[in-house]
């Protein structure tokens, strides 16, 4: 039976294949039993399902927890911008267009993730937020510069948080693609807010604040947002010293790659704004 060659060939590349399938003997037994009993046309599917069991990702729990974390961050952002847009006099005419665009996207992300999670058994409700972060940013909805500074921190957090979760969605097909497509939108938002802040030149936003992140500089005159940028200063990627390429130096090297946040790091940042 040439079918068994499949296993011999797999074994050459992955000597542990039988451990994955529980044991060589069982695998063979299972498979020869199968092939004796089922219609020939079903064989590829039977083989596929055996291998999926051996190599497929663990049930949907990973995907669900990733999307739940994402939803929490989107709840945070969506509530933040819609509250701000509703505050008379907070956002000047020059900023209304951009903030409205960003707000629209964050609200769409909430709905999108709710829909996705609804299909997996339900989604968590929105937490109650305290955007002053227990008094750290008291003027967040009364002073436009504070509002923009926290916006920047949220967007850059969003970029890093989605990035950190992407590998957990490997093999999840369309869910991964959707998460990546939200991730790059957050990066577009971040780039724009950073430019808005640079133009205003307030609260630590100097000429050196660029659409991309240099080192671990926040460009925000408080240490409270440092966790958002901690670790961004990396200049070596997969063992390759980026700063040495063309002698571009540490600044360009760190800007070239955005760094991920782990789930717990992202939760820790979001928690600052969640009412206990």
């Amino acid at each position: 039976m040439d079918l068994l060659n499949i296993f011999r060939e797999i074994e050459k590349i992955d000597p542990e294949v039988y451990n994955r399938l529980d044991s060589r003997r069982n695998a063979m037994k299972q498979f020869t039993n199968l092939s004796g009993k089922i219609a020939l046309t079903a064989l590829p599917f039977a083989l596929g399902s055996m291998l999926n069991k051996a190599y497929g990702q663990a049930a949907g729990t990973d995907v669900k927890s990733v999307l739940s974390l994402a939803l929490t961050l989107e709840y945070l952002e969506a509530a933040y911008y819609s509250t701000a847009l509703a505050k008379p006099g907070l956002i000047p005419a020059s900023g209304t267009g951009a903030i409205t665009t960003i707000s629209k996207h964050e609200t769409a992300h909430v709905k999108f993730l709710q829909n996705a999670l609804a299909g997996m058994g339900g989604f968590p409700p929105s937490p109650t937020f305290d955007f002053t972060a227990k008094g750290t940013f008291p003027a967040v909805f009364s002073d436009y510069d504070y509002f923009l500074a926290v916006s920047q921190a949220f967007e850059d957090t969003g970029v890093r948080a989605y990035k950190g979760q992407a590998p957990n969605l490997a093999g999840a097909g369309t869910v991964l693609t959707a998460a990546l497509s939200i991730h790059s939108v957050e990066a577009r938002h971040a780039a724009h807010i950073r430019q808005m802040r640079k133009t205003r030149g307030t609260l630590g936003a100097t000429a050196s604040l660029k659409p991309w992140i240099t080192g671990k500089q926040s460009g925000i005159a408080t240490t409270a947002t440092d966790p958002v940028y901690a670790g961004e200063e990396v200049t070596v990627q997969a063992g390759i010293n980026i700063a040495a390429i063309n002698n571009m130096g540490a600044d360009s090297a760190s800007e070239s790659f955005d760094e991920p946040l782990t789930g717990p790091q992202a939760v820790a940042i979001a928690s600052l704004f969640i009412k206990a």
Binding site: D2, P44, A98, H105, L180, I182, I242, N246, A253
Partner: protein
């Protein structure tokens, strides 16, 4: 397909040995599309040339390597473009714009050289580019092309992530691609805002769900082909 051959020819054995064993499912997956119950049950001794998708030009390789070479090709294109932008400096380029274009050039060179080093012996060669359609002395021409390249890059990375294998190495590649794509998105936003402030995430790239555009490799190469002279064999790319 090839894995069911009792005695794979030498070239197949080389392919197998080049593939990290954890990637083998990817390898199997690529072939299994062609598996039928009939060929399985009868064995597969006959020549498989029917299934070797043809195509001339530079081969991108297969599996994760093909996806990385795909990204490497796009980064080569972008790096070459911005190198010329910085050298030519369109008329009226401000000091800040020059500084930012220099940054972007550095980022793209970083990405290009990163992929080259990461791919090692599997890397495709240097591509010959064709920017005859771009007038590097004109702001509109440069910004329009830059916008097209950046949005294309973002959509390409967003579309390619799903093709990386669900393996330890595939996840590392996915993480690295993620580190790059958000920087491309930052570039895209900046260039768009230069063309028309406030269009950083306009409705032509972000849909009603708030999702950025996604393109398949075939769609990307259809657009990129106008700028690449070197013929690339895209037949091994996932589709």
């Amino acid at each position: 397909m090839k894995i069911v051959k009792p005695n794979p020819p030498k070239e197949d054995q080389e392919v197998a040995s080049r593939i990290h064993r954890r990637n083998f499912l990817r390898y199997l997956g690529a072939g299994s599309a062609f598996l039928t119950a009939a060929t399985l049950a009868s064995g597969c001794h006959k020549d498989d040339d029917d299934f070797n998708m043809g195509g001339e030009g530079v081969s991108l390789g297969s599996g994760d390597i093909a996806v990385l070479n795909y990204a490497y090709a796009l980064e080569q294109l972008e790096a070459a473009f911005y190198t010329q932008v910085v050298n030519a400096q369109f008329s009226g380029m401000t000091a800040t714009e020059l500084a930012y274009f220099t940054d972007i050039r550095n980022h793209e060179i970083a990405h290009r050289e990163f992929f080259k080093a990461a791919l090692g012996a599997n890397a495709i060669g240097s591509l010959e580019v064709n920017f005859s359609a771009v007038d590097f002395s004109k702001r509109d021409s440069v910004l329009g092309t830059a916008k097209a390249f950046e949005d294309l890059g973002v959509s390409a990375y967003n579309g390619a992530g799903q093709y990386l294998s669900n393996t330890d190495t595939g996840k590392v590649y996915l993480g690295l691609a993620g580190k790059i794509v958000s920087v491309e998105a930052r570039h895209a936003a900046y260039i768009r805002d230069l063309i028309s402030n406030g269009t950083f995430a306009a409705d032509d790239v972000v849909d009603a769900n708030g999702l950025d555009k996604v393109r398949t490799p075939a769609e990307v190469f259809t657009i990129a082909a106008a700028f690449i002279k070197t013929k690339i064999n895209t037949s091994t790319l996932p589709r």
